[in-house]
Symmetry: C2
Subunit: 458 residues, 2 copies
């Protein structure tokens, strides 16, 4: 026997799908300026849909870039408040010829909807709106206060978000953020991502002689800048892969026994990974497993190097210049500014006569993010995911960076729990992106369950 909530979802199932198909027809590509009007249309569509769901104070708020759509329902004054995040912009759709059907003419087939943005993030974004509508229609109230923050520039790195958050701290105040943008481990297995790595980049420029020199006439007399650069780069790690920069690990949160137990749960096929990547062995700090290293240990990666003669055959020179670019992946509680300064100091204090070494910042820093696995928000999400999937979630992390999470923590002082239902096989950012109808249903049922569970836990 269906609850009224479930019955409402069932009755309106076809309408919800039609709405999503409508939404997917808007080519709201944030990376392409010629689609600026489509972003505005998508914002308007979302605002209208929030209003129709019964949300209040719906507002299309301007930013320095594309607008943000805000809405709330705040009629539970003694209850906690959650902020639901998602984005209505999409990735570009080229190469078009690799799509089996046009990316902005959504196709419903085999219980999947194919279209650009179906999985990332329009399908996921709609689920909490539908859940709110269904709750308000069947119960006339929500279990707690809800705010929506839906942006239109996620696919270009959310450049407007830091400023927007800073200017709207009060309006966006909440007890927890929920992200309707993210992945589950697999259709059978949920996960909760507890952490992301931050990032900072540096460029090392080594200047030797003013121009390339004839190695016969000058070789042995002057310092070779590639030699200097190689020596500097070789001091970043020891032979086992440990980073040697003094102070680098000062603020790294050590892994607890529980952390390591949680990280050991997801399956990891080392031989399969090696074969797929084309390497004879994985490599890194031997005290940690490969998964621990990627999820919870910082890196200094040399992303590129150049200098001197790079053509075919030989050229007998002492080169004039050499350059390398570094990218550090950071973990909680490392500060990108401090780490960049430490690496810079480590390089620069090794000044070697005969060459000039300069270290400059590369733009694009991000803070690392880490949420306690036993945070009440995670406990609530874990309970709902277990019910939805029939399996307890893995507690994972991700070695990449998701700036929004650390931004919410820094600006609003709240953690972010991912609650969305995409999977890696859904061709996100690629041709033939699709979403499973089952995922939409999981989201619609799940959000109502989660709001109730959070009201109990927070």
């Amino acid at each position: 026997m269906l609850t009224p909530y479930d019955a409402y979802l069932k009755e309106n199932h076809d309408r919800f799908i039609d709405e999503l198909l409508d939404f997917l027809r808007i080519p709201s590509i944030s990376a392409l300026p010629e689609h600026a009007e489509d972003i505005d249309r998508a914002a308007k569509w979302v605002a209208d849909r929030l209003k129709a769901a019964g949300l209040e104070h719906v507002e299309i708020m301007p930013t320095s870039g594309y607008p943000v759509v805000y809405a709330d329902w705040l009629r539970a004054p003694d209850r906690p408040t959650v902020l639901i995040y998602g984005h209505f912009d999409v990735q570009p759709a080229d190469p078009f010829d690799l799509w089996d059907s046009p990316p902005f003419e959504p196709k419903l087939e085999h219980a999947r909807i194919y279209a650009r943005g179906a999985s990332d993030d329009k399908g996921n974004l709609l689920s909490p709106i539908i859940a709110v509508e269904a709750l308000l229609q069947t119960e006339q109230r929500l279990p707690l206060n809800v705010k929506f923050l839906l942006e239109g520039q996620e696919e270009v790195g959310s450049p407007q978000l830091p400023d927007f958050l800073a200017r709207n701290r009060q309006k966006l105040a909440c007890d927890l953020a929920l992200s309707a943008d993210g992945l589950q481990w697999s259709p059978d297995q949920p996960k909760i991502e507890l952490g992301y790595r931050g990032i900072c980049g540096l460029q090392i420029d080594v200047q030797g002689p003013a121009g390339d020199l004839h190695s016969g006439l000058y070789g042995g007399m002057v310092r070779n800048p590639i030699q200097t650069l190689s020596r500097l780069l070789a001091t970043l790690h020891d032979n086992a892969g440990h980073i040697l920069v003094p102070g680098f690990f000062d603020d790294v949160v050590d892994l607890t026994a529980t952390d390591r137990q949680l990280m050991a749960k997801p399956p990891f096929d080392e031989a399969g990974i090696c074969a797929r990547l084309g390497v004879d062995a994985l490599f890194g700090e031997p005290e940690y497993t490969p998964i621990e290293r990627v999820w919870a240990r910082p890196t200094i990666e040399i992303v590129g190097i150049s200098g001197g003669f790079q053509g075919q055959g030989a050229k007998s020179i002492v080169p004039s210049r050499a350059q390398a670019k570094l990218s550090c992946r950071l973990v909680a509680d490392q500060d990108p500014e401090r780490i960049a300064a430490l690496v810079k100091r480590h390089i620069q204090r090794q000044r070697i006569p005969g060459t000039q070494v300069q270290v400059i910042d590369i733009e694009g820093r991000a803070l690392p993010y880490l949420m306690p696995h036993d945070h009440p928000g995670n406990l609530a999400v874990a309970q709902v995911l277990t019910e939805l999937f029939g399996n307890a979630p893995f507690f994972t992390r991700c070695g990449g960076s998701i700036p929004a999470c650390s931004l919410f923590l820094k600006t609003l002082g709240v953690y972010t729990v991912n609650f969305s239902f995409s999977y890696e096989d859904e061709n996100l950012h690629a041709p033939n992106e699709f979403v499973r109808l089952k995922s939409l249903e999981k989201g619609q049922i799940g959000y109502a369950m989660l709001l109730r569970a959070l009201d109990r836990q927070l």
Copy 2:
């Protein structure tokens, strides 16, 4: 009162200049296939000039490339034999717009002749031919036996010479070679070059993962090939610039006290060199002076490096590949084959799991060359140069490679003494190349003096 020899030179002075102007009008550019006929014309011109001088067995000998011109005078059976080397090809003349007069329309002005090849090497090549003519005309004999070996491919690296020498060992047999292709220290200061460095090159390829990887998803899990390469390169030298490859110095001829005294004589302006090269200090093995290092110590130079992302800004990858090219300058008695093998072994035995390292040979090896400063040939040349310049010569070496010298030593078993009169300021290989009339006279007088002196010394 003039000797008959000097009188002959004086009487024919204008004719010799006209002949050189004629010779310079032939654009015998060996690097450009469209000038193939001009090389043949120059060979014919040289052969005719040798005949006119009274030389015998004049022959244009085919090779796998352009022909060699041979001639001899062997009518002193109990006397030693010298082989005189030079080349009748020239460098390309572009960029033409930087020439003040057309490169192949020689211009005589201010006691200089401007034309491509005037200094390198047509003017110098004519001097011993004229000297032979003047001796035969005035004395009806030469002090010793003379052979000429004049080639047409020096400016493209004499690719045909090794094979030609090997096939004509008997014909070219001699007691000493004289090179009519080379420089003096300055118009006031002669020099004798005792040695040249050899060369060998290697390329190091490091393969990491099969493709560039996302540094968020894989950074910390796999070995970075640029990191591997940097570590390998850093093991080639210590921090003071000493080469660390085992066995590298096994065959290096140590500098004697006399060698070091000779090398200390030429002026060396360290501050001026630093300013000109744009470096704050010279660098290399501290046990040796900069001149000693360039002239008499081997090097491993990293001539180029590349890998990963080399564009503007940042890209967060673990790169797939990295490459470096090495060029070793070698000194007597290092063997390029053995040194290449030693460096290769040193690199390859450091195999680091997670990346594959391959070291491959780069073509273009040359043997080092070193002649004793007190060799009788040098004593004779020193005596003549002192008389010609009014100054004793510096005994120098050169850090570059001159393959012909080591080739003559290896194939014919004889040393080569440079006896020619070009200077660094004469725009060799550059626009507005010129030769001083004074140099031509020094050569014409000098070669007769040298043949007499060699007859006494050898």
